[in-house]
Subunit: 462 residues, 2 copies
């Protein structure tokens, strides 16, 4: 324990410098979904590879048809487990830009009246701040002991925010290199400011884009309004039909594979201190909008959804234009649970749309990723050790929770590499990830580093 104490102290002493390194990374606008930022994505990958090399990892960029992966290896003591750490260096777009109080890629460390600090920038929480907690823990370990307590492989992706198109082929092509005894994924949140969490269930995701086409060109709504099909009207009718009055999704077969909660998990979730009013109140809402007969935690952790993430058609600029558009599109995501099959959901959605097309309209589709939900074992040895280590670091013991978001890689590690994955992260619900003014708590960044040092030490112990 003396060794661990000295490593924790090293983390404490070097916090300022670790913040500087994070800010350097945050200054790189690595927006993966927008091709205009491809060079910036590569720059972020190179920054991380260089940093890992400086710590003593054998690190390199690996090309993909999209943005490069970063893979770095460090050996460990004979007999110690081999740990794979996963994070992603790409970030979400920043619009609407006018709602940011500082520039998204110009990180600001600001202090609240109570003395707590936070780092504000796109990617500060999702996922650059999170992935750096692990790298900083490794750095401190090396600085204090000259070694790492486990064999460590670090695997950083650059396409997580854009559907991870290169991930599956890459995992398949590098199965041997990437398979470890356990995977650690740092892209999730704490239960609350004092309570760390390990996510044991995550929703899957199917991303779809549908475009409704009607007339062969944009029309004047005076000349043609009435007899001409309006694709915005057709699209609205179809979207409106996807949910019934009770909030259930009406697409035939949608709930196939959805299971009721395991009674033990149900009890655990019911035991969590959770306020629906606070959860919704923080975002200006008060009444749950999901399936009427489900609690908010169920709606967000164990029930599937259909969400409309974007819509556009016709004239959307200033003023008015009396046009009937030739086409209109929507971006739609389905969150999946239990054993829902992503490809079946995609096919059912497309059938649902196609069956509702009136005469003279056609629909085209584009896919934006697909991943099944994942369910982790809640009593593996690695999980038990991590749970204890986290409980040692934070004011309150670690909670086992569900996650509404989709972290496709967690399922893939299980299915493609046969590897158990622990989802441990230090984000908070109010971090505003994917939104303007994204932030990461200084306590998350600091205690996150300390948490990983404890977890690595615990894994290494017999």
């Amino acid at each position: 324990m003396a060794e661990l104490d000295s490593i924790l102290t090293c983390i404490d002493m070097n916090l300022d410098r670790s913040v500087e390194r994070l800010c350097d990374l945050l200054r790189i606008p690595s927006i993966s979904t927008d091709p205009a930022y491809a060079t910036e994505c590569r720059r972020a990958a190179q920054f991380l590879a260089d940093d890992l090399s400086a710590i003593g990892f054998s690190a390199s960029l690996r090309e993909t048809p999209g943005h490069p992966m970063v893979v770095a290896h460090h050996d460990g003591p004979q007999g110690a487990p081999h740990v794979l750490f996963y994070g992603h260096y790409d970030v979400q777009p920043v619009d609407p830009l006018h709602l940011w109080t500082s520039k998204p890629f110009d990180p600001v460390v600001s202090e609240r009246p109570d003395g707590t600090k936070r780092i504000v920038a796109r990617g500060s929480s999702d996922d650059k701040g999170q992935l750096m907690t692990f790298i900083e823990a490794c750095r401190a370990y090396k600085a204090e002991t000259g070694a790492l307590p486990c064999r460590v492989t670090i695997f950083l992706e650059g396409e997580e925010e854009s559907g991870s198109p290169s991930l599956v082929p890459f995992l398949d092509a590098h199965r041997e290199e990437l398979t470890a005894d356990v995977a650690l994924i740092c892209d999730t949140g704490m239960w609350d400011r004092d309570t760390p969490a390990i996510a044991t269930s995550l929703r899957g995701l199917v991303g779809e884009e549908v475009t409704i086409h009607a007339a062969s060109r944009d029309l004047h709504s005076g000349q043609y309004g009435g007899p001409a099909q309006n694709p915005i009207r057709v699209l609205s009718k179809i979207l409106a039909a996807i949910h019934d009055e009770s909030g259930r999704v009406t697409i035939p077969g949608f709930y196939e594979g959805v299971e009721e909660l395991d009674p033990e998990v149900d009890a655990m979730w019911k035991g969590l201190p959770f306020s629906q009013d606070e959860f919704l109140g923080e975002i200006g809402l008060s009444v749950p909008a999901g399936e009427r007969d489900r609690s908010v935690l169920e709606q967000v952790w164990s029930r599937p959804t259909a969400e409309f993430n974007g819509i556009e058609g016709g004239y959307t600029g200033a003023g008015f234009k009396t046009v009937i558009a030739a086409e209109a599109f929507a971006k739609i995501s389905f969150r999946l649970v239990s054993n829902q099959d992503p490809q079946k959901i995609r096919a059912a959605f497309r059938r649902f749309v196609t069956e509702r097309l009136p005469a003279d309209c056609r629909a085209t589709f584009a896919e934006h990723g697909a991943s099944p939900a994942i369910q982790l074992s809640i009593d593996s040895p690695f999980l038990r050790k991590a749970r204890t280590a986290l409980s040692d670091e934070w004011p309150k013991p670690a909670a086992m929770i569900g996650m509404g978001g989709s972290i496709p890689v967690a399922g893939l590690f299980g299915k493609r590499l046969g590897m158990e994955a622990l989802l441990i992260g230090f984000a908070l619900a109010d971090d505003a990830i994917h939104s303007p003014n994204e932030k990461y708590e200084m306590s998350s960044f600091h205690r996150g580093q300390r948490s990983w040092a404890r977890i690595l030490a615990a894994f290494a112990a017999a």
Copy 2:
């Protein structure tokens, strides 16, 4: 008739130069709805005032809170009628730009294999080409006779494509100056390539923009998808409820004031050579999408509509973003007929939306113009003279038709200035007004000038 013949010959001889003048006007991107083009609107107004002064009009720009009006006067013989001519120099936006085959503000005169020509540019048909037909007729009259056969006031607006916000106050403030014996409005179309038309009924217009607000910020659809209200979903549900399965608008009170067709007008319309298949086929459609029990001509001329002209919410860029937007909006126009009251329609729509808002959502509204439908007398002396003059010029006699579009000024001339208005224009259905590759037929431009010369001569005759 010798005088008229010489004027018509003068028009024929000067056609090339009149096309050059039109092209100079078309090069000015006077998009009124976009504040970025305010200077260009003023430049177009000045161009016209200068041209009218050169012909001998006393012409000037008149300031408004928006874009300036052009007013020009020319005296006429004792006892001859006083004619007010109306057109508009502003144009629609040009998006989607990538569908244009030439630059929208770089006019191109192109020739078809059969020798017919057309002028391609934004505004070539709506309304710069049309208004120039009248100005060129006046120019030829002056060139040949040194005078005009009627007293003429030319009144050109610069806000027709953006709801004419300054029109009513301007008419009220200049009632005496602008009131004539008859108004001529050149912003409508021919029945077909060979058949001129006078429009005797026009639909009115109410423009609305509704924004649905839900959460206080954009949300991650994994973290909040399920319990959080999604404004795109709410908006889609509301828009989808506006039409029933038979194509009727469901807003309570919407059909109040809608009258059935006068039997004489009905018979006239039924006698027009009209092919529903051709009308829809030209725009890539085949089945009328309006009220099921109405003919296409009724759907577009004598029945009211609700059209969705634009919609936007959430992430609409390349790729995908798993966001639940804080807000989403739609631009909606209602075409009105008979005695529908624009303000009642607006209020009924807003009530319809507000009543459908779920908990935690609110709606904000912006208005984009309002004008009632208008119905013209089909047997006034001016109308009879114009009908004969048009029939003399074109291969086939003039048709009396309805118009699906809204020309608010026609109603205002009647209601505010007590003046009968004749709607005579030379646009064709395939002119693609408001769309990419807008064009004006050379025959429209040429015979349009000759038509006005004939009409002015007919009005002057006892």
